[in-house]
């Protein structure tokens, strides 16, 4: 079983839709949860970062972490064609510098149709 599971999609939605992206994980030591966005032929870029359980909102994006269920989500409101990308969840445990390995999901490919 992989450390992090993520539905690879692809996911296609009309412009303006609410998008829900999810990941589950097995390692209860994970405390730091991130979402990266990767455009085609580009490197991943950090979108959202949360520590432990709870919600975090940034503009149209909301990240949720439920540690009891080992489940994290990213919601995108009023989705735009520019949101079309691959979204990767990532998480890590506490550790010494450079040793707290970041585990990635396989990514969900999202297409927002104008």
């Amino acid at each position: 079983q992989k450390e992090v599971e993520q539905d690879p999609g692809p996911l296609s939605v009309p412009e303006g839709a609410i998008v829900s992206l999810n990941c589950t994980y097995s390692n209860s030591a994970f405390q730091y949860f991130m979402w990266y966005r990767q455009y085609s032929r580009k490197g991943p870029e950090l979108l959202m970062y949360t520590y432990s359980s709870g919600n975090k909102e940034d503009g149209r994006f909301t990240a949720q972490v439920d540690k009891s269920s080992k489940y994290i989500s990213l919601f995108i409101r009023d989705s735009q064609p520019s949101d079309s990308a691959t979204y990767l969840c990532a998480m890590s445990a506490l550790g010494r510098p450079g040793a707290n390995n970041l585990f990635f999901g396989t990514g969900t490919r999202l297409t927002v149709i104008p």
Partner: protein
């Protein structure tokens, strides 16, 4: 002004050759990484260096050898290239924090194709 830059961006080579990918970051970060992304977009860590010290060395063939001449550079040399080495290799950097959180800044990737 690119934060994490990798060269070359594309690399096409024959099986058995030796090749290197270079990475430089100008963010002042103390930790650098190499990740491999396969055709299914799965990102897997290969190595990490903190202040030039090798910290993470995942199960990677000995043909892969990282070198960090200073905190701002992390190069990857690959000997005797095999077909299965074809992938996109990402360099990344981060600044270690007391909290241990890893917020990585990635380069644009180096797409390696072995024929």
């Amino acid at each position: 002004d690119t934060a994490v830059s990798q060269t070359p961006k594309y690399l096409v080579t024959q099986m058995g050759n030796d090749k290197s990918i270079k990475c430089e970051q100008n963010l002042g970060h103390d930790t650098m990484y190499w990740y491999k992304q396969d055709s299914k977009k799965f990102l897997k860590i290969m190595f990490s260096y903190n202040n030039k010290e090798l910290i993470i060395n995942e199960t990677v063939p000995n043909r892969f050898s990282p070198k960090s001449p200073d905190k701002a550079h992390l190069n990857l040399h690959i000997n005797s290239l095999e077909l299965g080495d074809s992938a996109v290799y990402f360099c990344a950097s981060s600044q270690s924090r007391g909290s241990g959180a890893n917020v990585l800044t990635f380069g644009a990737g180096s797409r390696l194709t072995v024929l």
